[in-house]
Symmetry: C2
Subunit: 386 residues, 2 copies
């Protein structure tokens, strides 16, 4: 199979962009990626963009053509991919497949979401589009509610503590305090998490990722072209899997089968094991999900995720650095952009030139992007070498 490498990457400041629209954020991210790759728009042969709910958030569908239009990239093929909060990891994957297919050699993959043009309540209801409308949204469940159910069960089955979940947020904010593009670049304490407003028991405000505007983009090329670029980062494995949309239909509420299946595929393709991964990005939409992800990705045994966090193994200088640049919690979570933002942070770590964010010596990295409560999972493994 034809190999694919990332040779350009960039994301916008994440936050509340009152003065920038989706089209502006997308174009800005695309320009950052092109500049980083030292390419021009005319070099790009196809565009993929992940976006979850622009129809609701800004009254605009058809955002791939819009992105091509606003970036001056027409008439290249422009395709939007949607899988809730996993939209842009899937856009990335389609870009990879399109190069593997031989149809294209240089492709841009982006993710973008503009969430603050509507009220917070409307945004929460829009986000429930990621769950099962007939069985979950219609009875008033929110995503905090869904993840709270998982957290309750994880605490009951494995003795995971409220404090351990808080430590996830503390770790991610500590890392995010180093990241100038983060929405909330400051440190917090366990006490602060435990005293923040209760959202859905046991989850509190500081267990929850925020509502964010932002965009992220990467440029991918075929192996033949990769040699022409400095420091290409290789896509070693790409796994994607689905599960039931509704949480109640699954056998377990404390693991995500989709993550396990996607991870198995990605590890297999990359010929790597969990212990070979140097830096990790997981989908901490809620703190409990980082604990579940650490377990499902095989970094510790099922049920030991809380202890893994408590033992500081996820820290930047720990055994397995996780969310080294802030995660969804501190950087923010523009739902359609997060998947590619995660991949960019892995790419930048693997290049070895990430300044104050650098984890020294990182040669392999893994990004896990989750849609909904786990109905979609995408795992990408990247490496400096193949």
């Amino acid at each position: 199979m034809r190999r694919v490498a990332v040779i350009g990457a960039g994301y916008t400041k994440f936050g509340e962009h009152w003065n920038k629209s989706l089209r502006q954020l997308s174009t800005e991210a695309g320009a950052l990626a092109l500049e980083d790759a030292k390419l021009e728009g005319k070099d790009i042969q196809a565009l993929y963009i992940g976006n979850m709910s622009s129809g609701h958030f800004i009254g605009q569908e058809h955002v791939a053509a819009l992105a091509a239009d606003q970036s001056g990239l027409t008439p290249i093929p422009a395709t939007r991919v949607e899988a809730a909060c996993a939209s842009s990891a899937l856009a990335f994957r389609q870009a990879v497949l399109s190069i593997m297919s031989g149809k294209h050699d240089i492709v841009i993959a982006a993710g973008a979401e503009k969430m603050t043009d509507i009220t917070g309540a409307s945004a929460l209801s829009t986000l429930m589009g990621a769950g099962d409308q007939e069985w979950e949204s219609s009875i008033g469940l929110t995503f905090a509610g869904l993840y709270a159910l998982m957290a309750q069960r994880h605490m009951k089955d494995y003795g995971t503590t409220r404090e351990q979940m808080a430590m996830v947020s503390v770790n991610n904010h500590k890392n995010g305090s180093l990241n100038p593009l983060a929405q909330h670049p400051f440190e917090i304490t366990v006490e602060k998490v435990l005293n923040s407003s209760l959202i859905a028991d046991p989850l509190r405000l500081l267990d929850c990722s925020p509502i964010t505007d932002g965009a992220a983009a990467v440029v991918l090329v075929s192996e033949e072209l990769a040699k022409r670029f400095e420091n290409p980062i290789w896509v070693l494995g790409s796994g994607q899997a689905s599960d039931t949309l509704a949480l109640h239909n699954r056998n377990s509420m404390t693991e995500m089968l989709s993550t396990k299946v996607a991870a198995k595929i990605a590890y297999g393709e990359a010929k790597l094991k969990p212990e070979n991964i140097d830096v990790v990005e997981v989908h901490d939409c809620f703190s409990i999900n980082e604990i579940i992800a650490i377990e499902d990705l095989g970094f510790c045994e099922k049920g030991q995720g809380g202890k893994f966090v408590e033992d500081n193994k996820i820290a930047r200088d720990g055994e397995r650095p996780v969310n080294t640049t802030g995660g969804l919690k501190s950087i923010g979570h523009p739902v359609g952009a997060t998947g590619i933002r995660q991949i960019i942070d892995i790419v930048k770590q693997l290049r070895g030139t990430y300044g104050s964010l650098q984890i020294n010596g990182a040669k392999t990295g893994l990004a896990l992007n989750i849609g909904g409560s786990g109905a979609t999972a995408a795992v990408h493994i990247l490496g400096r070498e193949y």
Copy 2:
């Protein structure tokens, strides 16, 4: 490059399905395609689904995972693709690319839309998500309005007549009267079109495709597997292109550059010319668009589309049979499903076993699916042989 064939195909009855939801329609179409292919769910390795606006229409995003879930196909990768009314031709294309890439060998590609759960006015406003929200929707333009502008200009520049546009609808309804799955399977007359309610001058009600619920699905396989199936229909060419989202930004209002670029790619890959195409499906969302499409696809010179229709060359027994099973006008236009419905009708014609709908001797076919007012175009050319 690895070749890809369609070996299963089916679409649901198109119409107002008051008693069926999106999940039911999608599953029904998937089952039809599997049954046609003589395969079971467990044989399918990946799912792609085109859907434009389920977020607005039914409060549900994440519909690819939902389709996999409801069809018992989890944990396979499930990916939604959106490009307004061209969503499912793009889903088809991604399925083709995923097989070409070597990642998958048997893939299902579907399209589905459930449009009648909201009011007609809400549906029209939802559909404007396909246009440019900042420049078109916000000032009150509708899609009938956009296509009316194109029609006015086509009439002015090329002398296209009101009657010629009506003849498009008459042809498509005549063909659709043979199609048991069509929403409006009855014949109409030019007089009836000309006397129907004015929607956006010069377009009248019977120039406009209806609001429809429906779903369509195909099964695609790699060339190695295609030999095991009866009557595989080959994907000979796949072209996709983008243009500005807003109509006013283009150099011409009487042609679609996206169609011309996509067609050039598809003809090139298929090593065929317009005169080699036996059956054609074009995107007659409004009658004028069929005339523009006929020209842009090269079946006649620019400006001669109206005459081409008037001379009955698009009839089932004409020089170039177009929309032989009813088109969007008579079959209906569930926006996310239309692209694959078109491909299915080509596949069935090329198999040579389409009963009363059969165009005898058809060996090659082309389907053109348009998103918005032409910001996306996808052209697929299929053949009995390669």
